[in-house]
Protein backbone atom coordinates (compact mmCIF):
# COMPACT_ATOMS: atom_id res chain seq x y z
CA UNK A 1 0.00 0.00 0.00
CA UNK A 2 2.94 2.34 0.66
CA UNK A 3 3.97 2.03 -2.96
CA UNK A 4 0.42 2.79 -4.11
CA UNK A 5 0.34 5.84 -1.86
CA UNK A 6 3.74 6.92 -3.14
CA UNK A 7 2.45 6.63 -6.67
CA UNK A 8 -0.74 8.55 -5.81
CA UNK A 9 1.37 11.35 -4.32
CA UNK A 10 3.10 11.79 -7.67
CA UNK A 11 -0.18 11.96 -9.68
CA UNK A 12 -1.06 15.61 -10.24
CA UNK A 13 -4.60 16.72 -9.41
CA UNK A 14 -5.11 18.00 -12.93
CA UNK A 15 -4.70 14.44 -14.20
CA UNK A 16 -7.72 13.41 -12.13
CA UNK A 17 -9.65 16.30 -13.66
CA UNK A 18 -8.69 15.18 -17.17
CA UNK A 19 -9.73 11.60 -16.48
CA UNK A 20 -12.97 12.66 -14.82
CA UNK A 21 -13.97 14.80 -17.76
CA UNK A 22 -13.60 11.93 -20.24
CA UNK A 23 -17.25 10.80 -19.72
CA UNK A 24 -18.38 14.38 -20.33
CA UNK A 25 -16.28 14.55 -23.48
CA UNK A 26 -17.78 11.28 -24.70
CA UNK A 27 -21.31 12.52 -24.02
CA UNK A 28 -20.63 15.71 -25.96
CA UNK A 29 -19.14 13.69 -28.80
CA UNK A 30 -22.20 11.41 -28.84
CA UNK A 31 -24.48 14.44 -28.82
CA UNK A 32 -22.66 16.11 -31.69
CA UNK A 33 -22.60 12.92 -33.76
CA UNK A 34 -26.25 12.17 -32.97
CA UNK A 35 -25.44 8.95 -31.11
CA UNK A 36 -27.42 9.41 -27.91
CA UNK A 37 -30.30 7.22 -29.08
CA UNK A 38 -33.92 8.04 -29.92
CA UNK A 39 -34.36 10.32 -26.89
CA UNK A 40 -31.04 12.19 -26.66
CA UNK A 41 -32.29 14.71 -24.10
CA UNK A 42 -33.23 12.04 -21.59
CA UNK A 43 -30.01 10.10 -22.19
CA UNK A 44 -27.87 13.19 -21.66
CA UNK A 45 -29.82 14.28 -18.59
CA UNK A 46 -29.78 10.81 -17.03
CA UNK A 47 -26.11 10.11 -17.78
CA UNK A 48 -24.97 13.46 -16.35
CA UNK A 49 -26.93 12.78 -13.16
CA UNK A 50 -25.56 9.27 -13.07
CA UNK A 51 -21.95 10.52 -13.28
CA UNK A 52 -22.76 13.05 -10.56
CA UNK A 53 -23.82 10.22 -8.24
CA UNK A 54 -20.78 8.14 -9.20
CA UNK A 55 -18.32 10.94 -8.40
CA UNK A 56 -20.17 11.64 -5.17
CA UNK A 57 -19.55 7.99 -4.28
CA UNK A 58 -15.85 8.47 -5.03
CA UNK A 59 -15.73 11.58 -2.80
CA UNK A 60 -17.24 9.68 0.07
CA UNK A 61 -15.03 6.65 -0.51
CA UNK A 62 -11.84 8.60 0.22
CA UNK A 63 -12.13 8.51 4.01
CA UNK A 64 -13.18 4.83 4.36
CA UNK A 65 -10.42 3.83 1.93
CA UNK A 66 -7.87 5.52 4.13
CA UNK A 67 -9.36 4.14 7.30
CA UNK A 68 -9.85 0.54 6.23
CA UNK A 69 -7.36 0.06 3.41
CA UNK A 70 -4.68 2.59 4.25
CA UNK A 71 -5.05 4.16 0.81
CA UNK A 72 -4.51 7.91 0.94
CA UNK A 73 -6.33 9.83 -1.78
CA UNK A 74 -7.17 12.86 0.33
CA UNK A 75 -5.23 15.10 -2.05
CA UNK A 76 -7.83 14.45 -4.77
CA UNK A 77 -10.93 14.85 -2.67
CA UNK A 78 -11.65 18.51 -3.34
CA UNK A 79 -11.20 17.92 -7.07
CA UNK A 80 -13.63 14.99 -6.87
CA UNK A 81 -16.13 17.24 -5.10
CA UNK A 82 -15.85 19.92 -7.77
CA UNK A 83 -16.19 17.29 -10.50
CA UNK A 84 -19.35 16.02 -8.80
CA UNK A 85 -20.65 19.58 -8.71
CA UNK A 86 -19.83 20.04 -12.40
CA UNK A 87 -21.82 16.97 -13.46
CA UNK A 88 -24.75 17.81 -11.19
CA UNK A 89 -24.83 21.43 -12.43
CA UNK A 90 -24.81 20.23 -16.05
CA UNK A 91 -27.56 17.70 -15.22
CA UNK A 92 -29.66 20.55 -13.84
CA UNK A 93 -28.83 22.80 -16.81
CA UNK A 94 -29.96 20.12 -19.27
CA UNK A 95 -33.20 19.68 -17.32
CA UNK A 96 -33.98 23.40 -17.44
CA UNK A 97 -32.89 24.01 -21.04
CA UNK A 98 -33.15 20.93 -23.24
CA UNK A 99 -35.74 18.95 -21.27
CA UNK A 100 -38.13 21.57 -19.86
CA UNK A 101 -37.16 23.97 -22.68
CA UNK A 102 -37.30 27.00 -20.36
CA UNK A 103 -41.03 26.51 -19.74
CA UNK A 104 -40.73 28.48 -16.53
CA UNK A 105 -44.31 27.87 -15.43
CA UNK A 106 -43.77 24.11 -15.54
CA UNK A 107 -40.31 24.40 -13.98
CA UNK A 108 -41.73 26.51 -11.17
CA UNK A 109 -44.61 24.09 -10.60
CA UNK A 110 -42.17 21.16 -10.53
CA UNK A 111 -39.98 22.94 -7.98
CA UNK A 112 -42.82 23.29 -5.50
CA UNK A 113 -44.96 20.22 -6.28
CA UNK A 114 -42.60 17.34 -7.11
CA UNK A 115 -40.86 15.83 -4.11
CA UNK A 116 -38.07 14.23 -6.14
CA UNK A 117 -37.30 17.55 -7.82
CA UNK A 118 -37.42 19.41 -4.50
CA UNK A 119 -35.04 16.85 -3.01
CA UNK A 120 -32.69 17.04 -6.00
CA UNK A 121 -32.71 20.83 -6.01
CA UNK A 122 -32.05 20.92 -2.26
CA UNK A 123 -29.02 18.71 -2.84
CA UNK A 124 -27.75 21.01 -5.57
CA UNK A 125 -28.26 24.18 -3.54
CA UNK A 126 -26.43 22.60 -0.62
CA UNK A 127 -23.50 21.87 -2.93
CA UNK A 128 -23.07 25.52 -3.95
CA UNK A 129 -21.36 26.75 -0.74
CA UNK A 130 -19.20 23.63 -0.78
CA UNK A 131 -18.11 24.26 -4.35
CA UNK A 132 -17.42 27.94 -3.65
CA UNK A 133 -15.24 27.10 -0.66
CA UNK A 134 -13.21 24.42 -2.40
CA UNK A 135 -10.08 26.55 -2.78
CA UNK A 136 -6.99 26.95 -0.61
CA UNK A 137 -7.87 30.60 -0.07
CA UNK A 138 -11.34 29.67 1.22
CA UNK A 139 -9.90 27.15 3.65
CA UNK A 140 -7.52 29.80 4.98
CA UNK A 141 -10.33 32.31 5.28
CA UNK A 142 -12.68 29.90 7.09
CA UNK A 143 -10.06 28.15 9.17
CA UNK A 144 -9.64 24.39 9.03
CA UNK A 145 -12.19 23.55 11.71
CA UNK A 146 -15.02 25.64 10.26
CA UNK A 147 -14.21 24.43 6.79
CA UNK A 148 -14.43 20.79 7.85
CA UNK A 149 -17.68 21.47 9.66
CA UNK A 150 -19.17 23.12 6.60
CA UNK A 151 -18.09 20.31 4.32
CA UNK A 152 -19.85 17.74 6.49
CA UNK A 153 -22.87 18.92 4.46
CA UNK A 154 -21.59 16.46 1.87
CA UNK A 155 -23.31 13.75 3.91
CA UNK A 156 -26.65 15.49 3.47
CA UNK A 157 -25.92 15.92 -0.24
CA UNK A 158 -25.33 12.16 -0.46
CA UNK A 159 -28.64 11.37 1.21
CA UNK A 160 -30.52 13.86 -0.99
CA UNK A 161 -28.79 12.65 -4.15
CA UNK A 162 -29.54 8.99 -3.43
CA UNK A 163 -33.12 9.83 -2.53
CA UNK A 164 -33.57 11.88 -5.71
CA UNK A 165 -32.41 8.92 -7.80
CA UNK A 166 -34.57 6.37 -5.95
CA UNK A 167 -37.65 8.60 -6.06
CA UNK A 168 -37.66 8.93 -9.84
CA UNK A 169 -37.48 5.16 -10.36
CA UNK A 170 -40.70 3.45 -11.29
CA UNK A 171 -39.82 0.14 -9.68
CA UNK A 172 -37.83 -0.85 -6.58
CA UNK A 173 -35.07 -2.43 -8.53
CA UNK A 174 -31.87 -1.62 -10.33
CA UNK A 175 -29.29 1.13 -10.46
CA UNK A 176 -30.98 3.61 -8.16
CA UNK A 177 -31.16 1.15 -5.27
CA UNK A 178 -27.60 -0.03 -5.92
CA UNK A 179 -26.18 3.51 -5.83
CA UNK A 180 -28.25 4.38 -2.78
CA UNK A 181 -26.99 1.27 -0.99
CA UNK A 182 -23.37 2.16 -1.77
CA UNK A 183 -23.84 5.74 -0.53
CA UNK A 184 -25.52 4.50 2.62
CA UNK A 185 -22.69 2.05 3.24
CA UNK A 186 -20.11 4.82 2.80
CA UNK A 187 -21.96 6.93 5.36
CA UNK A 188 -22.28 4.03 7.80
CA UNK A 189 -18.53 3.35 7.53
CA UNK A 190 -17.96 6.80 9.03
CA UNK A 191 -19.71 5.94 12.27
CA UNK A 192 -17.30 5.67 15.18
CA UNK A 193 -16.75 1.94 15.54
CA UNK A 194 -15.23 0.64 18.78
CA UNK A 195 -11.59 -0.28 18.29
CA UNK A 196 -11.17 -4.02 17.86
CA UNK A 197 -9.48 -5.60 20.89
CA UNK A 198 -6.46 -7.80 20.38
CA UNK A 199 -7.41 -11.41 19.99
CA UNK A 200 -7.09 -13.51 23.13
CA UNK A 201 -6.86 -16.81 21.31
Amino acid sequence: MDRVNAFARRVPVWAVWMLALVPLGLLILQAVTNNLGPDPVKTLERDLGDWGIKFLILCLAVTPLRRFAGLNLIKFRRALGLITFTYVALHLAVWVSLDLAFRWAEIGADLVKRPYIIVGMAGFVLMIPLAITSSNAAIRRLGGLNWRRLHKATYAVAVLGALHFVMISKVWWGDALLHAAILLLLLVLRLPFPQRKASLA
Binding site: K42, R114, G174
Partner: protein, 299 residues
Protein backbone atom coordinates in the same frame (compact mmCIF):
# COMPACT_ATOMS: atom_id res chain seq x y z
CA UNK B 1 -29.25 -1.41 -42.50
CA UNK B 2 -31.04 -3.10 -39.66
CA UNK B 3 -30.09 -6.55 -38.33
CA UNK B 4 -32.08 -9.56 -39.42
CA UNK B 5 -34.86 -10.56 -37.10
CA UNK B 6 -37.97 -12.65 -36.77
CA UNK B 7 -39.90 -10.66 -39.35
CA UNK B 8 -37.36 -11.38 -42.04
CA UNK B 9 -37.89 -15.11 -41.93
CA UNK B 10 -41.55 -15.38 -41.01
CA UNK B 11 -44.07 -15.63 -43.82
CA UNK B 12 -46.42 -12.68 -43.78
CA UNK B 13 -49.32 -15.11 -44.00
CA UNK B 14 -48.80 -15.77 -40.33
CA UNK B 15 -49.84 -12.30 -39.37
CA UNK B 16 -51.72 -11.10 -42.39
CA UNK B 17 -55.00 -12.50 -43.51
CA UNK B 18 -54.04 -14.44 -46.59
CA UNK B 19 -57.51 -14.43 -48.10
CA UNK B 20 -57.83 -10.72 -47.68
CA UNK B 21 -54.43 -10.22 -49.20
CA UNK B 22 -55.36 -12.20 -52.28
CA UNK B 23 -58.83 -10.83 -52.65
CA UNK B 24 -58.05 -7.25 -51.76
CA UNK B 25 -54.75 -6.54 -53.34
CA UNK B 26 -54.28 -9.27 -55.89
CA UNK B 27 -51.24 -10.60 -57.57
CA UNK B 28 -49.51 -7.26 -57.84
CA UNK B 29 -49.25 -7.02 -54.07
CA UNK B 30 -48.11 -10.61 -53.71
CA UNK B 31 -45.37 -9.89 -56.19
CA UNK B 32 -44.26 -6.92 -54.16
CA UNK B 33 -42.89 -7.72 -50.73
CA UNK B 34 -43.15 -4.12 -49.66
CA UNK B 35 -46.85 -4.31 -48.81
CA UNK B 36 -47.25 -0.63 -49.38
CA UNK B 37 -50.91 -0.97 -50.31
CA UNK B 38 -52.33 -1.18 -46.85
CA UNK B 39 -55.94 -0.49 -46.21
CA UNK B 40 -55.77 3.05 -44.96
CA UNK B 41 -57.89 4.12 -42.05
CA UNK B 42 -59.79 7.29 -41.36
CA UNK B 43 -58.51 6.98 -37.79
CA UNK B 44 -54.88 7.46 -38.80
CA UNK B 45 -53.16 10.70 -37.92
CA UNK B 46 -51.48 12.58 -40.74
CA UNK B 47 -48.45 13.21 -38.54
CA UNK B 48 -45.24 11.59 -39.76
CA UNK B 49 -44.53 8.27 -38.02
CA UNK B 50 -41.27 7.75 -36.14
CA UNK B 51 -38.81 5.64 -38.11
CA UNK B 52 -38.81 1.91 -37.39
CA UNK B 53 -35.44 1.97 -35.62
CA UNK B 54 -36.76 4.43 -33.03
CA UNK B 55 -39.96 2.46 -32.46
CA UNK B 56 -37.98 -0.76 -32.00
CA UNK B 57 -35.13 0.57 -29.86
CA UNK B 58 -36.96 2.69 -27.28
CA UNK B 59 -39.36 0.45 -25.42
CA UNK B 60 -40.81 0.04 -21.98
CA UNK B 61 -41.29 -3.73 -21.74
CA UNK B 62 -40.17 -4.56 -18.22
CA UNK B 63 -40.39 -8.30 -18.89
CA UNK B 64 -37.10 -7.80 -20.75
CA UNK B 65 -35.46 -5.29 -18.40
CA UNK B 66 -35.96 -1.78 -17.08
CA UNK B 67 -33.80 0.12 -19.52
CA UNK B 68 -35.47 1.25 -22.73
CA UNK B 69 -32.76 -0.48 -24.75
CA UNK B 70 -33.24 -3.81 -22.94
CA UNK B 71 -36.25 -5.06 -24.93
CA UNK B 72 -34.37 -4.65 -28.23
CA UNK B 73 -31.44 -6.47 -26.64
CA UNK B 74 -33.27 -9.44 -25.12
CA UNK B 75 -36.66 -9.86 -26.76
CA UNK B 76 -35.29 -11.95 -29.62
CA UNK B 77 -35.29 -14.89 -27.17
CA UNK B 78 -39.08 -14.84 -27.03
CA UNK B 79 -40.87 -17.70 -28.80
CA UNK B 80 -43.98 -16.31 -30.46
CA UNK B 81 -44.92 -19.32 -32.57
CA UNK B 82 -46.96 -21.26 -31.60
CA UNK B 83 -49.16 -18.69 -29.87
CA UNK B 84 -52.65 -18.84 -28.56
CA UNK B 85 -54.91 -16.58 -26.55
CA UNK B 86 -57.23 -17.98 -23.95
CA UNK B 87 -60.51 -16.13 -24.10
CA UNK B 88 -62.85 -16.76 -21.22
CA UNK B 89 -65.24 -15.37 -18.67
CA UNK B 90 -68.61 -14.05 -19.78
CA UNK B 91 -68.42 -15.08 -23.43
CA UNK B 92 -70.51 -17.44 -25.55
CA UNK B 93 -67.53 -19.21 -27.12
CA UNK B 94 -64.74 -19.48 -24.59
CA UNK B 95 -61.58 -21.35 -25.48
CA UNK B 96 -57.98 -21.23 -26.50
CA UNK B 97 -57.70 -19.49 -29.85
CA UNK B 98 -54.61 -19.95 -31.98
CA UNK B 99 -53.18 -16.81 -33.49
CA UNK B 100 -54.00 -17.92 -37.05
CA UNK B 101 -57.58 -18.52 -35.97
CA UNK B 102 -57.81 -15.09 -34.36
CA UNK B 103 -56.53 -13.47 -37.54
CA UNK B 104 -58.86 -15.45 -39.81
CA UNK B 105 -61.18 -12.88 -41.32
CA UNK B 106 -59.88 -10.07 -39.14
CA UNK B 107 -60.15 -6.77 -41.03
CA UNK B 108 -56.51 -5.64 -40.86
CA UNK B 109 -55.80 -1.98 -41.32
CA UNK B 110 -52.89 0.33 -40.91
CA UNK B 111 -53.53 2.64 -37.99
CA UNK B 112 -51.05 5.47 -37.62
CA UNK B 113 -51.58 6.48 -34.01
CA UNK B 114 -50.09 9.00 -31.67
CA UNK B 115 -48.53 7.17 -28.71
CA UNK B 116 -48.12 8.92 -25.37
CA UNK B 117 -46.20 7.31 -22.52
CA UNK B 118 -47.05 8.15 -18.90
CA UNK B 119 -43.38 9.21 -18.61
CA UNK B 120 -44.19 12.26 -20.77
CA UNK B 121 -42.64 11.21 -24.06
CA UNK B 122 -44.47 10.46 -27.28
CA UNK B 123 -44.13 8.86 -30.69
CA UNK B 124 -46.21 8.28 -33.79
CA UNK B 125 -46.52 4.60 -34.67
CA UNK B 126 -47.89 2.97 -37.84
CA UNK B 127 -49.53 -0.12 -36.37
CA UNK B 128 -51.15 -2.90 -38.36
CA UNK B 129 -54.08 -4.41 -36.58
CA UNK B 130 -57.81 -4.86 -36.31
CA UNK B 131 -60.48 -3.56 -34.01
CA UNK B 132 -60.77 -5.45 -30.74
CA UNK B 133 -64.54 -5.31 -31.16
CA UNK B 134 -64.22 -7.67 -34.12
CA UNK B 135 -62.77 -10.40 -31.91
CA UNK B 136 -65.13 -9.69 -29.01
CA UNK B 137 -68.13 -9.95 -31.35
CA UNK B 138 -66.81 -13.25 -32.67
CA UNK B 139 -66.58 -14.83 -29.23
CA UNK B 140 -69.89 -13.34 -28.15
CA UNK B 141 -69.88 -10.99 -25.17
CA UNK B 142 -72.58 -11.91 -22.63
CA UNK B 143 -74.80 -9.26 -21.13
CA UNK B 144 -73.25 -9.35 -17.65
CA UNK B 145 -69.78 -8.44 -18.93
CA UNK B 146 -68.66 -4.91 -18.05
CA UNK B 147 -64.88 -5.10 -18.40
CA UNK B 148 -62.18 -6.90 -20.37
CA UNK B 149 -59.13 -8.15 -18.47
CA UNK B 150 -55.89 -8.89 -20.34
CA UNK B 151 -52.73 -10.78 -19.39
CA UNK B 152 -49.24 -10.88 -20.86
CA UNK B 153 -47.30 -14.11 -21.30
CA UNK B 154 -45.54 -15.38 -18.15
CA UNK B 155 -42.33 -17.10 -19.21
CA UNK B 156 -39.40 -16.11 -16.99
CA UNK B 157 -36.93 -18.33 -18.87
CA UNK B 158 -37.39 -16.12 -21.94
CA UNK B 159 -38.26 -12.91 -20.12
CA UNK B 160 -35.42 -12.05 -17.71
CA UNK B 161 -37.33 -9.17 -16.11
CA UNK B 162 -39.84 -11.71 -14.80
CA UNK B 163 -37.02 -13.27 -12.77
CA UNK B 164 -37.05 -10.13 -10.62
CA UNK B 165 -39.80 -9.19 -8.17
CA UNK B 166 -39.99 -5.64 -9.55
CA UNK B 167 -43.58 -6.08 -10.74
CA UNK B 168 -46.30 -8.53 -9.76
CA UNK B 169 -46.09 -10.75 -12.85
CA UNK B 170 -47.76 -11.55 -15.14
CA UNK B 171 -48.53 -8.05 -16.40
CA UNK B 172 -52.26 -7.32 -16.29
CA UNK B 173 -54.37 -4.64 -17.87
CA UNK B 174 -58.03 -3.95 -18.40
CA UNK B 175 -60.58 -1.83 -20.21
CA UNK B 176 -64.19 -0.97 -19.60
CA UNK B 177 -66.32 -2.77 -22.19
CA UNK B 178 -67.30 0.40 -24.03
CA UNK B 179 -63.61 1.37 -24.26
CA UNK B 180 -62.79 -2.10 -25.56
CA UNK B 181 -65.55 -1.89 -28.19
CA UNK B 182 -64.49 1.58 -29.37
CA UNK B 183 -63.30 1.58 -33.00
CA UNK B 184 -59.99 3.24 -32.02
CA UNK B 185 -59.09 0.26 -29.80
CA UNK B 186 -57.14 -2.30 -31.78
CA UNK B 187 -55.26 -5.53 -31.39
CA UNK B 188 -52.06 -4.91 -33.33
CA UNK B 189 -50.05 -7.66 -34.99
CA UNK B 190 -47.70 -5.59 -37.10
CA UNK B 191 -45.71 -2.44 -37.50
CA UNK B 192 -44.69 -0.70 -40.70
CA UNK B 193 -46.33 -3.49 -42.68
CA UNK B 194 -44.19 -6.17 -41.07
CA UNK B 195 -44.97 -8.64 -38.28
CA UNK B 196 -44.81 -7.09 -34.84
CA UNK B 197 -41.20 -6.97 -33.57
CA UNK B 198 -40.81 -8.92 -30.32
CA UNK B 199 -39.79 -5.83 -28.34
CA UNK B 200 -43.04 -4.12 -29.35
CA UNK B 201 -45.25 -6.91 -28.01
CA UNK B 202 -45.27 -9.70 -30.58
CA UNK B 203 -47.23 -11.44 -31.75
CA UNK B 204 -50.38 -9.61 -30.64
CA UNK B 205 -50.85 -6.59 -28.42
CA UNK B 206 -53.44 -4.03 -27.48
CA UNK B 207 -53.26 -0.41 -28.64
CA UNK B 208 -55.50 2.20 -27.03
CA UNK B 209 -54.23 5.52 -28.41
CA UNK B 210 -56.03 7.91 -26.04
CA UNK B 211 -54.58 6.25 -22.94
CA UNK B 212 -51.06 6.23 -21.53
CA UNK B 213 -48.93 3.55 -23.14
CA UNK B 214 -48.91 1.18 -20.17
CA UNK B 215 -52.57 0.38 -20.85
CA UNK B 216 -51.61 -1.04 -24.26
CA UNK B 217 -50.59 -4.46 -22.95
CA UNK B 218 -48.14 -6.53 -25.00
CA UNK B 219 -47.84 -10.20 -25.98
CA UNK B 220 -51.36 -11.09 -24.85
CA UNK B 221 -52.12 -14.69 -23.86
CA UNK B 222 -55.35 -14.21 -21.94
CA UNK B 223 -58.51 -12.16 -22.22
CA UNK B 224 -61.45 -12.42 -19.84
CA UNK B 225 -64.82 -10.72 -20.01
CA UNK B 226 -65.74 -9.89 -16.43
CA UNK B 227 -68.38 -8.08 -14.41
CA UNK B 228 -66.06 -6.25 -12.01
CA UNK B 229 -63.23 -3.83 -12.69
CA UNK B 230 -60.14 -6.04 -12.98
CA UNK B 231 -56.86 -5.49 -11.12
CA UNK B 232 -54.18 -3.92 -13.29
CA UNK B 233 -50.44 -4.16 -12.69
CA UNK B 234 -49.32 -0.54 -12.25
CA UNK B 235 -52.48 0.35 -10.38
CA UNK B 236 -51.85 -2.52 -7.96
CA UNK B 237 -48.31 -1.29 -7.39
CA UNK B 238 -48.92 2.48 -7.07
CA UNK B 239 -52.66 3.22 -7.00
CA UNK B 240 -52.15 6.94 -6.38
CA UNK B 241 -49.96 7.24 -9.48
CA UNK B 242 -51.54 4.93 -12.02
CA UNK B 243 -55.32 4.82 -12.29
CA UNK B 244 -57.44 2.23 -14.02
CA UNK B 245 -58.50 4.71 -16.72
CA UNK B 246 -55.10 6.30 -17.40
CA UNK B 247 -56.52 8.57 -20.05
CA UNK B 248 -54.00 11.04 -21.43
CA UNK B 249 -54.90 14.28 -19.70
CA UNK B 250 -52.66 17.37 -19.55
CA UNK B 251 -54.64 18.80 -16.63
CA UNK B 252 -54.20 15.82 -14.29
CA UNK B 253 -50.58 15.44 -13.24
CA UNK B 254 -48.82 12.26 -12.34
CA UNK B 255 -47.90 12.85 -8.67
CA UNK B 256 -44.20 12.82 -9.53
CA UNK B 257 -44.27 14.81 -12.76
CA UNK B 258 -46.39 17.11 -14.86
CA UNK B 259 -48.41 15.73 -17.74
CA UNK B 260 -48.91 19.16 -19.32
CA UNK B 261 -46.30 18.64 -22.02
CA UNK B 262 -44.27 15.92 -23.67
CA UNK B 263 -41.02 15.29 -25.52
CA UNK B 264 -41.36 13.78 -28.98
CA UNK B 265 -38.93 10.87 -29.25
CA UNK B 266 -36.63 11.29 -32.23
CA UNK B 267 -37.06 15.05 -32.41
CA UNK B 268 -33.46 15.67 -31.36
CA UNK B 269 -31.63 17.60 -28.67
CA UNK B 270 -33.09 21.02 -29.32
CA UNK B 271 -36.72 20.23 -30.16
CA UNK B 272 -38.06 21.21 -26.76
CA UNK B 273 -41.51 20.03 -25.75
CA UNK B 274 -45.00 20.13 -27.15
CA UNK B 275 -48.21 20.58 -25.24
CA UNK B 276 -49.96 17.33 -24.41
CA UNK B 277 -53.42 17.09 -25.91
CA UNK B 278 -56.56 15.99 -24.10
CA UNK B 279 -57.08 12.25 -24.70
CA UNK B 280 -53.84 12.42 -26.70
CA UNK B 281 -55.62 14.25 -29.51
CA UNK B 282 -58.54 11.80 -29.71
CA UNK B 283 -60.96 13.94 -27.71
CA UNK B 284 -63.53 14.18 -30.50
CA UNK B 285 -63.74 10.40 -30.73
CA UNK B 286 -63.67 9.36 -27.07
CA UNK B 287 -64.69 12.23 -24.77
CA UNK B 288 -68.30 11.01 -24.80
CA UNK B 289 -67.22 7.76 -23.09
CA UNK B 290 -66.44 9.74 -19.96
CA UNK B 291 -69.32 12.20 -19.90
CA UNK B 292 -70.21 13.13 -16.35
CA UNK B 293 -67.12 11.53 -14.86
CA UNK B 294 -64.66 13.53 -12.76
CA UNK B 295 -61.42 12.77 -14.61
CA UNK B 296 -59.29 14.08 -11.75
CA UNK B 297 -60.78 11.36 -9.55
CA UNK B 298 -60.99 8.68 -12.23
CA UNK B 299 -57.43 9.26 -13.49
Amino acid sequence: MRPLNWSDVTPKSLFLNRRQLIAGAGAALLASPALAEYAKSKYSTDEAPNPLNEITSYNNYYEFGFDKADPARYASALTTDPWSVEIGGLVDKPGSYGLADILKGAPLEERIYRFRCVEAWSMVVPWVGFELSHLLNRVGVQSGAKYVAFETLMRPEEMPGQQTPALDWPYREGLRLDEAMHPLTILATGLYGEPMPNQNGAPIRLVVPWKYGFKSIKSIVKMSLVAEMPSTTWNMMQPNEYGFYANVNPTVDHPRWSQASERRVGAGLFAGREDTRMFNGYEAEVASLYKGMDLAVNY
